[in-house]
Subunit: 318 residues, 2 copies
Amino acid sequence: MRVYSGIDLGGTNVKVGFIDDNFRLLCKSSIQTKPEMGPENVFDRVAAEHNRLASENGFPLEDICIAGMGLPGPANLSEGILINPPNLPGFENCPVRDICSKKLGRRVVIENDANAACWAEYECGKGEQSEDIAFVTLGTGVGGGLVCDGHLLHGFKESAAEVGHIIIYPDGRLCGCGQRGCAEAYASASNTAARAEEYVKSGAASSLSEYDQITSEAVFQEAQKGDRLALSVVEETAKVLALLAVNVQNTTNPERVIFAGGMIKAGDFLLDKIKFYFDKYCWPSRKGETDLAFSTLGTESGMIGAAAVARRHYLAGN
Amino acid sequence: MRVYSGIDLGGTNVKVGFIDDNFRLLCKSSIQTKPEMGPENVFDRVAAEHNRLASENGFPLEDICIAGMGLPGPANLSEGILINPPNLPGFENCPVRDICSKKLGRRVVIENDANAACWAEYECGKGEQSEDIAFVTLGTGVGGGLVCDGHLLHGFKESAAEVGHIIIYPDGRLCGCGQRGCAEAYASASNTAARAEEYVKSGAASSLSEYDQITSEAVFQEAQKGDRLALSVVEETAKVLALLAVNVQNTTNPERVIFAGGMIKAGDFLLDKIKFYFDKYCWPSRKGETDLAFSTLGTESGMIGAAAVARRHYLAGN
């Protein structure tokens, strides 16, 4: 049996798992990253965990064809080098691919973590019947991935699909990236919460004023209970995500836009609103062409996708 | 010598030309389309002109490997069928590829005309050093093409790169497509002229009020002479095109955005303004990564690109 390992390197945890040719997750594990220990130590522990997991589950190391690793950006993917990852201090310009390849004793393919998760959707998630998908993660930031004509897009600086930084409102709300009016500045989980908090602090009446800390979960919860302020914040988030989807539709023409990340826990309450605005704002002659969906792969998609990206390289012989 | 023929089917004229493996235009010709004569007649005349051109220039028909044809959308490209082209009445659901293939006695590959022009830029124009370009045509409408990682993007309904319909201002100016606030609604040649005309009609002071008909050429001419209204209209056009470029940068991450079409006759006066706003609005950490340029291929790019797309299929054996 051919086995492919996937490693999802995050600032807090590193997830490790194996998949087969049917993208079935055979086994999985997780260790704390502890980036402060430095790259050599981190990747020694990753390799040890990888080999322990293989041994414990009865997979001979020689059956593992290749390993894929998903990394937070910015990174030079084709060279396998992290550049200056905000959540991995001490990993600046770290040649991750070469270090891991040596420690794991096999070829390692590096991919951006959101791209890897997008590829998991393409291979075995909500996008598996399509050659053209857009993937949008709604977490602290808004990230993404794009598959067009069956290709995972990378682009000139290997930073395609930064769809959270599509400008929705020129000269609008300041984004963490320094642009104004980005989708992320309104519709990330953090900024959905932040917008609600700003309204509450400015004295708007809302059941949210009783919270010590306003989270996006709280905003969705109160909106569902009928709080008008919370509802208006949710409507704006949905509208911005719909406009993002319209702009991606007119750029890479996906069959499906798949949303993932913490905020999709809001379920159909959010999805139906995004669909409403998408239908409102999309090109009339294209209505009904592009479908919107929430991911069902959960938090393992980055790891599965990293393995699936590596598998693709392995099978293509490149 | 291998020769590839390119045919650019427009509502008014059909351009025919041959290129070699260096994308050199060997000879060219043009006939009137006269769509009212119907598809059979039009393609009979196209085939006759194609064969006459070959004979006149000493190219044996057997040296012509394949023909490419650029069509206005909407079309089913992979099946080679025009759907309902506004400028080709009577060509609804016309199986262009099969008709032309029979009449030309060789394989014909169909491509969208803006995609074909984009591919010409990629192979032998402003994009020839890059694997990642965006192409934007500024005419009656705003069309485009996208090459990412060396692939000409098509997408689910083969209608990728409709970049003129990226929404710049939600709920803004009504576009011909039925959406509001599209780039095209502000920054096409027609809408640049239309916006100026609306201001003049509403009584704004401008040297443009002396024109019988306000064209985009007039707007640029008067703006360069210092007319304040004309200048503000040009600034808005440039700003919208810059925002379009920012959004494409964050989606497919091109190395270069290449503008073409009638309006680029305005030259550096326009290009410098687009660059100014692009620099203002783009992600600070990405400043300087993506370059903006005006095409130098002229009106033959559609024909050259159609031939070049066909050549690519021929060489790839698909």
